[in-house]
């Protein structure tokens, strides 16, 4: 069975500093990977996805992620965060059957 692990439950970061959110997955079959963001009292919004091709994926709001098959990782990065990036971020994998398997989430708190 596929599993997704987010290594950090909370990440405090100062405004305009870079941030990296770590995600590792386990799977014995081909996998698609996603990052979603959840702002307070809102639904999940897709940031970016990796399906195939280039391992560096660029998403909305200046986020990017790199698929690393040898390390089974899909870490999310942003070079300079804003206060508005305060939210919870979820990494997810999708193997056979269309359902998403989510990690436990990483809460990002951007401080002024």
């Amino acid at each position: 069975a596929q599993s997704v692990t987010q290594l950090d439950s909370q990440v405090p970061v100062f405004e305009e500093a870079p941030v990296e959110l770590r995600c590792n997955y386990s799977s014995s079959v081909s996998v698609y990977l996603f990052w979603y963001v959840q702002y307070p009292n809102q639904g999940l919004q897709l940031l970016l996805k990796y399906l195939s091709g280039s391992t560096l994926v660029k998403g909305i709001n200046g986020f990017e992620a790199e698929f690393n098959k040898s390390q089974t990782s899909f870490h999310l990065r942003k070079p300079s965060v804003h206060i508005s990036d305060t939210a919870e971020y979820f990494c997810a994998g999708q193997a056979a059957g269309n359902k998403l398997t989510f990690g436990g989430g990483t809460r990002v708190l951007v401080k002024p």
Partner: protein, 114 residues
Amino acid sequence: GAGVSQTPSNKVTEKGKYVELRCDPISGHTALYWYRQSLGQGPEFLIYFQGTGAADDSGLPNDRFFAVRPEGSVSTLKIQRTERGDSAVYLCASSPQGDYNEQFFGPGTRLTVL
């Protein structure tokens, strides 16, 4: 355009009661998914519909949970004999035919069982 909508946004019920949660997917989306998000955790898959039929219900925790999608559009998640452990945010998502890699999520229904 209109996104996925879920009603009610909040539901408070007593232990042992029956509840129904409704999901209106994006118009024309053929795939519909239900997930459950407990406090401090990531969403967990419950059930997936392709059209009117449940293509995968492996995530339903027990036989108190049931979901339908009779006309291939709106879906209802039904929970019988609710327990305090059922308290969570129930999320619905939909995908267009041929693009199951992107699921559009609704805002969720927060269920509280007292």
